[in-house]
């Protein structure tokens, strides 16, 4: 039998002692605020850079560009922001592990714009238990606002999907009281929030929803669902779908020669999507569609001269090489980053996590990247961040405002 030197177990003891000693030195400085040094702020985040939701990964890049811009101008109260953003592939188990690593190993100050409803649900309890701020999460689920009391360290950003659908519902009641309504929705929290919101907005007229059809993210297309919905005789359609499927739905409208009054979720209302639909399905597919907006639209020519749009393009020119300025997700990222910087600013020079939360819950902000008139407000009793939207309709290849900004709170 070959001789081999088995390491003596006794040798491990001094090694172990050294590790434990080293570890205790690292955490000896317990008074310092995690993630804060005299010159820097460390923020953590997760976005899906791979996997089924990877189209949203580009949001992280928009955030990075804005932070680079702010850092170059001296940072926030003299501190530069470092944003450690990692890929969780939209898998909640992965998100939990990454967040724990960022919180315990990297000692981030706070989490910002973590993306995805399941991902955020998975980390919410832990972050609230550890009293680590979970700010401006990138999802429109209603729970961030609705459960604010139970989870005081968590704050949303997007107008919630229910609010958007409620606005649609109210509009239907106001302008088409006898409508027969059909809805195409994604079979998950996003789609189902829509259904709930629509029913709320319709109120007593919710019974006028004649058909609901869902699809799975794993489906190749939604053509059979659209055929089913057309068969129900509805004259009003709500599309609660992510871009790939929304475009498919609009194209189907053209192919089926079906012309209901159509409401489209703002998640899929980018010019890229609309143009793709028009190209494949003809003008019939997209003309007259109603949606809503709360951020500026880089592809909207009428907004090109607003201060916010100019700032956006300037920042991208300098800090966002390789990024496509027409991608609305990037602008969304900047809008969120603006709010984060605003909150950090208001929290003052003497930064602690509690001070950050205090600032975050007393926001009354005019964000240059939001649609003019849309405001961002929070208060300790109102954890909803943005609840206003501007109705828009698609006319001859352009989104035009339709009426004034509507507040879903009312």
């Amino acid at each position: 039998m070959p001789e081999f030197h088995r390491p003596s177990l006794k040798a491990l003891v001094p090694i172990a002692a050294l590790y434990i000693l080293a570890g205790s030195f690292a955490s000896a400085n317990a008074d310092a605020v995690p993630g804060i040094t005299p010159t820097g702020i460390l923020l953590g985040g997760t976005h899906p850079y791979s996997g089924p939701a990877s189209a949203y990964g580009v949001i992280g890049k928009g955030i990075a560009a804005y932070f680079a811009y702010v850092n170059d101008r001296g940072g926030v109260n003299g501190r530069k922001i470092t944003y450690k953003d990692q890929d969780d592939a939209y898998n909640p188990a992965q998100t939990v592990q990454i967040v724990k690593g960022l919180a315990e190993q990297d000692q981030v100050f706070a989490f910002f714009n973590t993306l995805g409803t399941p991902s955020n649900l998975a980390i919410r309890q832990y972050l609230n238990d550890q009293k680590i701020p979970q700010l401006f999460v990138a999802t429109g689920a209603t729970t961030w606002g609705a459960d604010g009391v139970k989870y005081p360290y968590t704050l949303g950003f997007n107008p919630d999907y229910q609010a958007e659908a409620t606005i649609f519902g109210k509009n239907i009641v106001a302008h088409q009281p006898d409508a027969k309504i059909a809805i195409l929705y994604q079979n998950d929290d996003f789609g189902q929030d829509y259904v709930t919101g629509l029913q709320k907005g319709l109120g007593s007229k919710a019974s006028q929803i004649v058909k609901m059809a869902s699809y799975e993210v794993s489906d190749p297309d939604v053509r059979s669902q659209m055929a089913t919905l057309q068969g129900s005789g509805a004259d009003t359609l709500v599309i609660a779908a992510t871009p790939k499927f929304a475009v498919g739905a609009m194209v189907a409208l053209g192919q089926l020669s079906w012309k209901p009054t159509t409401y489209l979720t703002n998640v899929s209302a980018s010019q890229t999507a609309m143009q793709a639909a028009t190209k494949a399905g003809g003008a019939a597919a997209t003309d007259g569609i109603i949606s809503d907006a709360y951020t500026l639209d880089p592809t909207n020519a009428t907004q090109a001269n607003t201060a916010g749009m100019k700032l956006y393009r300037d920042i991208l020119a300098k800090y966002g090489q390789g990024l496509d300025p027409n991608n609305g997700f990037i602008l969304y990222g900047m809008a969120a980053a603006y709010t984060m910087v605003d909150t950090l600013q208001k929290a003052g020079k003497d930064l602690t996590r509690d001070k950050l939360m205090d600032a975050a819950l007393h926001l009354n902000e005019k964000n240059p990247f939001l649609w003019p008139g849309v405001e961002l407000q929070t208060s300790p009793s109102d954890h909803f961040t943005i609840r206003e939207e501007q109705l828009i309709h698609y006319n001859n290849g352009v989104w035009e405002p339709a009426g004034s900004v509507i507040d879903a709170r009312k």
């Binding site: 869902s214 793709a276 494949a280």
Partner: protein, 267 residues
């Protein structure tokens, strides 16, 4: 084709197809007209697949089946990651060689796109069938797959036959990618839902029978749509599980698929 020659499914088929479709997109974005970009891409796809087989697959040709499976899975992940890294994940519109106006027959209208896709697929299958049945090279490939030792004895280079098989399979994949991209829009994850159904259809029809693949595909597609629309309990969300359950039931009755040949082993 790959299954027939190597007894292994190439899991990367879909992702390789997407990658080559992106290449076509890139060519057209740089100004190449559609009727030139498509053939060029097909040639690139063939050459690249042959090269891939010779470099990556050759070392493990004799390795256990599952090793090869993992390597093809690795290729799947690699190509998917590569497509995303180079071209990003935003949806891209993809031009179609067919007109967008629908064709009407009585009260039913068909999308020209759909008809075009069917037409192209059937032609491609016919060409492949003719290639295998009527040409010398096709015969050589079939020999190498079914009777490897005898074929070698006749001087047919086994390795290169496999490589050719990969090349042809890649071309078929690219073709399907080019046809499908205008409908579902181009992004790195475009083929994933389709591959699921393709795999199911292929196995349903019998994985070593080309006729089975076609029949399987049609049956599956029709069944899925009918089930979803007309059986309320199933609705649109349970289509997939129910369809798969039916397939499994069919397989239990006919373990080699509808048209597959049962494997005979010498005892």
């Amino acid at each position: 084709m790959i299954y027939r020659s190597m007894d292994v499914i190439n899991f990367a088929q879909g992702e390789m197809a997407v990658f080559t479709t992106f290449v076509a997109w890139q060519l057209m974005a740089q100004g190449m007209p559609l009727w030139a970009a498509f053939p060029v891409t097909i040639v690139i796809s063939f050459v690249a697949a042959v090269a891939l087989e010779r470099t990556v697959i050759r070392p493990i040709e004799r390795a256990p089946q599952l090793t090869i499976v993992i390597v093809t899975l690795g290729l799947l992940i690699t190509f998917n990651g590569l497509s995303g890294w180079i071209w990003g994940y935003e949806l891209k519109a993809f031009p179609s060689p067919f007109p967008t106006s629908p064709i009407r027959l009585g009260s039913v209208s068909f999308s020209s796109q759909d008809l075009g896709v069917i037409g192209v697929s059937l032609s491609a299958l016919l060409l492949i069938y003719l290639f295998f049945a009527r040409t010398k090279l096709g015969l050589a490939m079939r020999a190498a797959a079914l009777y490897p030792s005898e074929a070698r004895a006749l001087g047919i280079p086994h390795g290169w036959m496999l490589a050719l098989g990969w090349g042809l399979a890649s071309v078929m994949g690219t073709l399907s990618g080019l046809m499908v991209a205008p409908i579902v829009f181009l992004d790195p994850n475009m083929m994933q839902s389709i591959v699921v159904y393709a795999f199911a259809a292929a196995v349903l029809g019998g994985i070593d029978s080309p006729l089975g693949a076609v029949v399987g595909g049609l049956t599956l597609g029709v069944a899925l749509n009918l089930l979803g629309t007309y059986v309320d309990f199933i609705g649109t969300d349970l289509r997939l599980p129910v369809a798969f359950a039916i397939i499994v039931a069919v397989l239990v009755i006919r373990p080699s698929g509808l048209f597959g040949r049962p494997r005979l082993t010498r005892v």
